[in-house]
């Protein structure tokens, strides 16, 4: 398996000037030559490293586009292996075709994090470097980039260090208490101890809640677009993504499966899922779509409930409003270019709303502002500390849980040796976060979170 040739799209999804794929492994040149014909007919395999060649990209016999191939020779590449990067004109559809062509020519589609894992295996980068690189890659939008950069510089490290040193102090107190039992001055003041432990739990809590806000900026917002059939969900999706991705027809019930799109809107990224209109249906296929839509609604970071205000609210609309209340949601009152027949029903609810016309492109900016408001992104102190990745988040959550458990054990009269073990657990979680201890899972877990390609 090792050193087989892998391929992946190296540029982020969405619109851009160029898109590229990266091919790495023993047969990188052979495979590239099958899909890329240089203008002067020279084989890529014959070219020296660090050079570029212009040529045509083929899928078998079919010309896909013209583009540029960059040559990297082992070990002087990101992965440390022979590598070719082929760039074509921007666009998700085109680059997927190039990817498919490379796969047909013999490359294996890379698993998540595989390029970085190879770079790591070949000694090109360290584990910590790998993590930061990943964050910079996956950080979309300027704010996310800034946060990732701050983490790399160690702002987060410093906050965690502070909590760590508080925990270390507690651990050392227990240690001294147990190891020097005959010294009367080394007794533990339980009240002080509980106070410190509470303080630590609060600090960890702050980190966790900031993460919940910050993860929208880094990872994008999972957004479900829901609403009655023909309320204009797909039009909204298309407006936001500026493509004709969803099929927009006046026939209710057109969108039966979930259509996804990643959209950059100003400072943040929406991961949009356009769902089937929610209505009672006898059509089996459509019913599956409706069920999926409901499920999506429950798991989303943000629900955009789309309502057609050019007609009076129906029972289904009222039912949907109920579903939306209590979760991060925004009522998108669509079709405000037409006469408002909603009788002010939606405005009277205590849910945030915005009036737009998706079809005419009216109110897009107001929509963005409202989204920020709903997700409290505005309240997030841009200099506050945010945990950069799910792995770090999990460790902080573990630390908090262990510390909380320790607190209740202590209050419940459990002996200090056992309480100490829970505090040790909290501490070692945080130490692991700083890379100061290891379990074999660390590497695997980190790589699982890696974006493909740099």
């Amino acid at each position: 398996m090792i050193n087989d040739t892998i391929v992946a799209i190296a540029t982020p999804p969405g619109e851009g000037g160029i898109s590229s794929i990266r091919i790495s492994g023993r047969e990188a040149f052979v495979i590239s030559d099958k899909i890329f014909n240089t203008k002067n007919g020279e084989s890529l395999a014959c070219r020296p490293g660090y050079t570029a060649a212009y040529g045509n990209v083929y899928d078998g016999e079919n010309l896909l586009d013209d583009g540029v191939a960059l040559i990297f020779r082992a070990p002087k590449s990101y992965t440390g292996e022979d590598t070719v990067e082929i760039s074509v004109h921007g666009g998700d559809f085109l680059i997927k075709q190039v990817l498919r062509a490379a796969a047909k020519a013999g490359a294996r589609i890379a698993q998540g994090g595989e390029f970085t894992k190879r770079a790591f295996e070949n000694g090109k980068i360290s584990l910590t470097q790998a993590e930061s690189v990943m964050q910079i890659i996956s950080a979309r939008g300027s704010q996310a980039l800034r946060l990732a950069a701050r983490n790399k510089e160690g702002a987060l490290s410093k906050v965690i260090e502070k909590i760590t040193s508080k925990l270390l102090f507690l651990v050392s107190q227990i240690s001294v208490f147990s190891d020097f039992p005959e010294d009367e001055t080394l007794m533990i003041d339980e009240e002080d101890f509980i106070f410190s432990l509470n303080e630590i739990i609060n600090d960890l809590d702050t980190l966790i809640s900031n993460y919940d806000k910050g993860k929208y900026l880094i990872g994008g917002i999972n957004t479900a677009i829901v609403g009655s059939p023909n309320a204009g969900k797909s039009t909204l999706m298309n407006l936001l993504s500026k493509t004709e991705r969803s099929i927009v027809t006046p026939i209710a019930g057109t969108t039966r499966d979930i259509i996804e799109e990643t959209v950059q809107t100003g400072e943040f990224t929406l991961k949009l899922a356009d769902t089937a209109g929610i209505r009672k249906t006898g059509d089996e296929v459509e019913k599956i779509g409706v069920d999926a839509a409901l499920k999506r609604l429950e798991n989303a970071d943000l629900c955009l409930g789309v309502f057609d205000i050019s007609k009076p609210p129906e029972a289904a609309d009222k039912e949907l409003v109920l579903r939306l209340s209590g979760r991060p949601s925004l009522l998108v009152l669509n079709k405000n270019d037409l006469e408002d027949k909603s009788e002010g029903y939606f405005e009277k609810l205590s849910l945030p709303f915005v009036k737009i016309s998706a079809k005419e492109g009216i109110g897009e900016e107001a929509l963005n502002e409202k989204i920020k408001e709903v997700l409290k992104i505005n309240e997030l102190d841009q200099n506050s500390d945010i945990l950069g990745s799910e792995r770090q988040y999990q460790k902080v959550v573990t630390a908090k849980n262990s510390a909380t458990e320790a607190l209740s054990a202590l209050k419940g009269g459990v002996t200090l040796d056992a309480v100490g073990i829970l505090i040790d657990e909290a501490l070692s979680s945080l130490l692991e976060l700083e890379g100061k201890r290891i379990t074999t899972e660390v590497a695997d877990e980190v790589f699982k979170n890696f974006c493909v390609g740099k």
């Binding site: 039992p181 002996t415 073990i421 074999t440």
Partner: protein, 623 residues
């Protein structure tokens, strides 16, 4: 010097302190012909510092030594003056047994044990030279010119190696308690390229009992229910003496501060590094200036002597200053000093030069143990002596070495810390040094180590059978408690109320009740009609395992993970220099330490988690 050939042996042990004794006994008991050399036969197993054995974490070590088939626990039980289980209220992980010991009787017991052990000869002789023969055996030469050949050598020189005594401005070559130092052996070791360095330790004065006024001193008595160290000792030791507690005061502090310039430590004459965990009184006063008073324990040294030991009051100040400051302490106003406090500096090895087998990396058949390896304490020494002795014998008998995993014992943790991390000051065992405290309890040392002791041949079949029977009893009792339901009654609820725990409303399993912090196995006895008769030791295990089940399970998970990594072995000749991706520092450290497993490698400072990942991936690629 004219030498003569005095004989061949399998194993030679240099030193008959706590490390040397265990090494020599283990080696001889395993069937290796063994000679143990000591500078003075009257000081075999001497306790030149505290007249006590055990204490926090050290008590665990004694239990483990006993569980593996060592002698220390039995010798301590046979010569106990007072016994206490420390930390009783703080949970089973930190329960630690400590006993005051009759120092001279202990020494006599050990000397006689050695004299009566088959395959073992103990000789009074100073080894002045150690060198390698062409056939790989070792040549030892005594001060009187006797030349011995040995297949394995254990160096257990304690504080004797180039020992130097300091009392104020006075200093001279010497060993502990007025013995001679071993002044010549160090140069042989340097010739063998063994990295030596200087450590120091110290001891307080011994004073005459009749000169102490005990009237206003706090009394410290032994436990009512005493527990022996050895799993084989059937009669619990008796308390024969009491200890007393007193405190220093402002005056003590003043005397010391006024005379600090006369301390060799602060004057710079002592180059050796002292133990952080057992500082001299002047150290404590300087480093913890805010502390108003320091505690001291007045402990008897034996039944046939009036010498008393002043625990906590070690010093290297001049004798006249010592007299002055001791007399500021309540109870010691008229004290007569019989032996002065002193500091002692000695040569020892950087333990990272050793494998976890305690064999010197560069020299097959050469082992180190005890203070020579940078540790401090009788128990730490004895434990290492046992492991070094076993492996020295196995080298001579051409058997496979043993190593003790970190995840299985304090002894394994001690050795791993020493050889993997090294030590900057004399290493003392502490409960916090083990990540696995709740598993590595003093009450289950037998379960952790006796099977190994039996397998290598230090535990008799009879003892092993008894051990297995006890385990079966324990397991059956746990099962019974887990399946026996107790019904609510006024009587039991009255008891529960008095103990501050919720009354029963419906039936409840006994095991569930034992889990409540306020209840114990014993407290439930009146309501548990079918309880079998089991020993206190077994009952203690049963209670601990039920009460802490959740926590134990948690730790077991990490023990298993660590054990898995300890089982991932690394070859001694692993080409770290050539492994891409290892950082330069990691390459250097790994090449130096030559870890025997990934588990050990993880403990090396300067080896990062990323380096470990690289190593794991490299192992994967190359296996």
């Amino acid at each position: 010097m004219t030498t003569y050939f005095a004989g061949k042996t399998d194993v030679a042990v240099i030193g008959a302190g706590h490390a040397g004794i265990e090494a020599a006994l283990a080696s001889a008991r395993l069937g290796a012909k063994t000679i143990c050399f000591t500078i003075n036969l009257d000081w075999v197993g001497n306790m030149p510092c505290n007249p006590s054995i055990g204490g926090t974490a050290k008590g665990h070590l004694v239990r483990e030594i006993d569980a593996l088939g060592g002698e220390m626990g039995k010798a301590a039980d046979a010569n106990t003056l007072q016994s206490r289980m420390l930390n009783r209220g703080k949970g089973p992980a930190v329960h630690s047994l400590r006993a005051q010991i009759d120092r001279r009787d202990y020494s006599a017991y050990m000397k006689h044990k050695m004299e009566t052990t088959k395959n073992l000869v103990t000789k009074q002789a100073e080894i002045v030279s150690l060198s390698k023969n062409e056939d790989g055996t070792w040549k030892l030469v005594t001060a009187l010119g006797a030349e011995y050949t040995a297949k394995s050598v254990v160096i257990a020189t304690g504080t004797f190696l180039k020992g130097k005594i300091f009392v104020g401005e006075v200093n001279y070559e010497g060993g502990p308690d007025g013995t001679f130092a071993a002044t010549k052996l160090s140069s042989s070791l340097l010739e063998l390229n063994i990295p030596l360095r200087r450590f120091k330790t110290g001891t307080p004065a011994r004073v005459l009992k009749s000169s102490i006024n005990f009237e206003n001193l706090e009394l410290q008595e032994g436990d009512i229910d005493t527990v022996p160290f050895s799993f084989e000792t059937k009669t619990p030791p008796e308390n024969k003496v009491c200890c007393h507690i007193s405190y220093t005061n402002d005056q003590t502090k003043k005397v010391i501060l006024d005379n600090l310039h006369r301390s060799p430590l602060y004057g710079g004459e002592i180059e050796g590094v002292g133990p952080r965990y057992c500082p001299s009184l002047e150290d404590k006063i300087v480093r913890f200036a805010d502390k108003e008073r320091h505690q001291l324990f007045i402990e008897p040294c034996g039944l046939n002597t009036e010498e008393m030991y002043l625990q906590g009051m070690s010093s290297s100040l001049p004798e006249e200053v010592q007299i002055k400051f001791y007399k500021t302490i309540p109870g010691l106003e008229n004290v007569e000093i019989m032996r002065s406090a002193y500091a002692i500096e000695y040569d020892c090895v950087d333990p990272t030069a050793l494998f976890p087998t305690l064999e010197v990396k560069e020299h097959k058949g050469l082992f180190g143990a005890g203070q020579f390896n940078g540790s401090s304490g009788y128990e730490e020494a004895a434990g290492q002596g046992l492991v070094a002795g076993i492996n020295a014998a196995f080298n001579a008998l051409e058997k496979e070495y043993i190593t003790l995993p970190r995840s299985g014992s304090y002894l394994g943790t001690l050795i791993d810390d020493l050889v993997t991390k090294g030590c900057a000051d004399p290493y003392r065992m502490m409960t916090s040094r083990s990540e696995y405290r709740l598993i590595l309890r003093q009450n289950n040392a037998d379960e952790r180590l006796t099977p190994l002791g039996h397998q290598i041949g230090l535990i008799s079949d009879e003892r092993f059978e008894n051990f297995k029977t006890e385990i079966a009893l324990k397991e059956a009792e746990i099962k019974r408690l887990e399946s026996t339901t107790i019904a609510p009654s006024d009587e039991i609820n009255r008891l529960f109320e008095s103990l501050g725990t919720a009354p029963l409303t419906t039936g409840c399993k006994l095991a569930e009740l034992i889990k409540r912090p306020q209840l114990s196995y014993e407290a439930l006895a009146p309501f548990d009609k079918n309880r079998p008769i089991i020993s206190k030791q077994v009952a203690d295990k049963v209670e601990t395992e039920i009460k802490y089940e959740g926590y134990i399970k948690r730790q077991l998970a990490s023990v298993n993970e660590m054990h898995r990594l300890e089982m991932k072995t690394l070859k001694i000749d692993t080409p770290y220099e050539k492994i891409d991706g290892l950082r330069l520092e990691a390459k250097e450290k790994l090449s130096k330490i030559k870890p025997m497993s990934i588990g050990q490698a993880m403990g090396i400072s300067g080896v990062s988690p990323a380096d470990i990942s690289v190593l794991l991936i490299w192992l994967l690629k190359n296996s």
